[in-house]
């Protein structure tokens, strides 16, 4: 993965417009957040292989970045994105790594289901 270049990622998001794609989204503070700091309220979400279709997709912000996908009946968005890669299977893998390099969010788009 490399640091996000906004215009590059915008092009990649546009590649998947108006076709069935599979989405992986997760946010995380790590399972030990509350163990390490009892005052920390831990919350996260995870979805893998939701099949969706979007008619508009945008990357915004100055870094960390936000990505939003507009679907016929709703929206998907993520924030805190810092890195990306178009992998050898043509999947757009975006991630947000915190100040220590730990993953805080993953946002991925693929034409085939994630294994």
């Amino acid at each position: 993965m490399q640091a996000i270049e906004k215009s590059e990622v915008q092009k990649l998001i546009d590649q998947f417009l108006n076709e069935d794609v599979y989405i992986h989204i997760e946010t995380t503070n790590g399972a030990y957040a509350t163990h390490n700091d009892p005052s920390f309220f831990n919350a996260s979400a995870f979805i893998r292989n939701a099949r969706i279709r979007y008619e508009r997709g945008n990357i915004t912000g100055d870094g960390p970045f936000r990505v939003g996908l507009k679907m016929e009946l709703g929206w998907i968005y993520g924030e805190g994105l810092t890195h990306y890669e178009l992998d050898e299977q043509g999947r757009l893998l975006m991630a947000g790594l915190d100040h220590t390099g730990k993953l805080a969010i993953a946002f991925e788009i693929s034409r085939t289901p994630f294994e």
Binding site: M1, H24, E26, H35, P38, E85, A95, G101, K102, F114
Partner: protein
């Protein structure tokens, strides 16, 4: 003092769960000729360390961690490593009866005299808790007098308060090299820990030396 065993079965959900506090015990059993089976439920797909700068992605991480797990098994001398194909962070949502069936099958096949897993209620991560519960459920199916010993790892903030001091202390100083090797094998997850520990060991930090030499377990307390 490490008691002699017929066969040891270790059950954890994540690659690297064995590394920090059990690898010395595993390597010690292997050294004294005791067969050890390590069953690892997931490939740690949800690990947060992708390298800094990142050399892995969310999708390539499981492949890397699988190799790391195999390297760790090699470092400890474990010949029977089993990867059970569940997914990280989802273990607690599986059917616990079926999970216990998986464990029961291994118990029937291997006839272990000792099983090592996490202590339910005292092991922090939901996958640790679910794994410990499934193992306890599987072992509870066996008549009380025929059950293998069950040593548990616990590290929640309240564990000593509620469980008391660990009743099993293994001196694993003969397996220090293997223990460090197992930790080093899980590079993506342990690089920071390892470098820091290596420095402390070199400086003869008493806590670090103690960590290297001793491993602690709680014998599971049955209600029946």
């Amino acid at each position: 003092m490490i008691e002699n065993e017929r066969h040891v079965l270790v059950v954890f959900p994540h690659p690297d769960d064995e590394a920090f506090g059990v690898s010395g015990t595993i390597a010690s059993f292997v050294k004294q000729g005791t067969p050890v089976t390590y069953a690892c439920l997931t490939l740690g797909e949800m690990g947060r360390n992708l390298g800094n700068p990142p050399f892995a992605t969310r999708e390539s991480l499981p492949k890397i961690r699988k190799t790391e797990l195999q390297n760790s098994a090699k470092a400890m001398g474990v010949k029977d490593l089993r990867m059970l194909g569940l997914r990280d962070k989802t273990v607690e949502f599986e059917d616990e009866e079926k999970l216990a069936d998986l464990i029961s099958e291994m118990i029937d096949e291997l006839n272990p005299s000792l099983i090592i897993t996490f202590y339910p209620g005292y092991s922090v991560h939901p996958d640790h808790e679910a794994t410990g519960r499934a193992v306890v459920r599987a072992v509870s199916r066996i008549a009380k007098e025929e059950r293998p010993k069950l040593y548990c790892v616990a590290f929640s903030n309240n564990c000593e308060e509620e469980l008391g001091k660990p009743d099993i202390i293994h001196d694993v100083s003969q397996a220090a090299k293997e223990k460090l090797g197992a930790i080093q094998a899980h590079k993506t997850q342990t690089a920071f820990f390892y470098d820091n520990m290596a420095k402390r060991l070199e400086a003869k930090d008493p806590d670090a030396l103690k960590w290297l030499q001793y491993e602690r377990f709680w014998t599971y307390k049955w209600n029946d």
